[in-house]
């Protein structure tokens, strides 16, 4: 039984999926109260890795720019004309959730986790990511 991200064809063996299963190893699993758990400074990194879209001025501008560049008539993701499904937008609900996730984040960063994450992602994702600190600042503005 090895941890293989099926999508990527399984190269890299057991370590390739470590980042993706970190929260299972650290947050799930059996806990026995008669045993001690070692201190896990750095576990909070799992909570600040917010990849869902966060409502902020920065995100608005970035998405507006992306829409301007987007060519609906071509490209690999060309979408066959779909009916207008998204009539009502659950803006406030979704936004509240994202903000909660963000503000609930602690900011401890452990070198071990960063390392695990970077090594498990040989191809960095193209999307721009801001640090939590800078996002927070923008939200506060």
């Amino acid at each position: 039984m090895t941890v293989v991200p099926a999508q990527q064809g399984g190269g890299g063996g057991g370590s390739s999926g470590l980042y993706d299963v970190l929260e299972l190893i650290l947050d799930r699993g059996l806990v026995i109260d008669a045993f001690v758990r070692v201190s896990l400074v750095g576990i909070e990194i799992l909570k600040i890795d917010v990849r869902v879209v966060v409502a902020s001025v920065d995100t608005y501008l970035r998405f507006a720019e992306a829409c301007n560049r987007l060519d609906l008539e071509s490209g690999p993701h060309k979408n066959p004309g779909l009916p207008d499904l998204v009539g009502e937008m659950t803006e406030s609900g979704a936004r509240g959730k994202s903000k909660g996730a963000l503000s609930g984040a602690a900011e401890t960063i452990s070198g071990a986790f960063k390392e695990a994450r970077e090594e498990s992602r040989p191809e960095p994702r193209p999307r721009a990511r801001k640090s939590t600190a800078s996002r927070r600042k923008e939200e506060a503005e």
Binding site: D20, A64, E119
Partner: protein
Amino acid sequence: MSTYVYGITAASHPALPDGMDGVGAPARPVRILKEGDLAAVVSDAPEGLRPKRKDLLAHQNVLSEVGAEGVVLPMRFGSVAPDDAAVTGVLAERADHYKERLATLDGKVEYNVKAVHDEEAVLHRVMSENAEIRAMTEANRQAGGGSYEQKLQLGEMVVAAVQAREAEDAAEVHSALESVAAAVSVGPESSGWLANISFLVDRDEAEQFLAAVEQVRAAHPHVDLRINGPLPPYSFVEPGPAEPAGTAIGADTGKE
């Protein structure tokens, strides 16, 4: 000398990983402690154990090895008993509970599914679905990109639409895979994925489950699905919904 515990399995497990490399540097060899019908997979606990990459991997690898040949109750990383006797004491004291869990999870494995949006693809989708966004984008284009306020207005609409899509896609991934799984455990929402869901799957039905995953992929080309498994049943060791460790933290600080 304190004892690091990886997991609990049946004493009759056919391939106990005696001597395998465990946590620590140098790696402490894995030992097996038997008590009645149960066995604990342990090693000596290194001094000053931290959640380092190597140690997390060792924990996961030992459990993967055990789990490949038979059911195991994986411990959360970092569980340390005062000594071997404390471990066998717990096995004896709670034998019925652990045997019941092992019987329930026998032949089953965990698959963890995480989903994020492919940004360009989801923008395509959102624009196709929403005439207002298309019109505003077109207006901004014709105005050479639009004013700051116009950009903000467009961006805010797009973000709201994308967030609505995140919620819908999460629900669709959940319901599509739930039907081919024995149990479902939803991961912490704050972990940054639009969906982070673990499914307990019968080993014999793993193919159907993976086929269902492929169907979800095909039906949602704008969703990037990452699947990990088969894994030891981390999310299903206790009956009922799992309580992730981070829940309390998130609840406290989220109030503001």
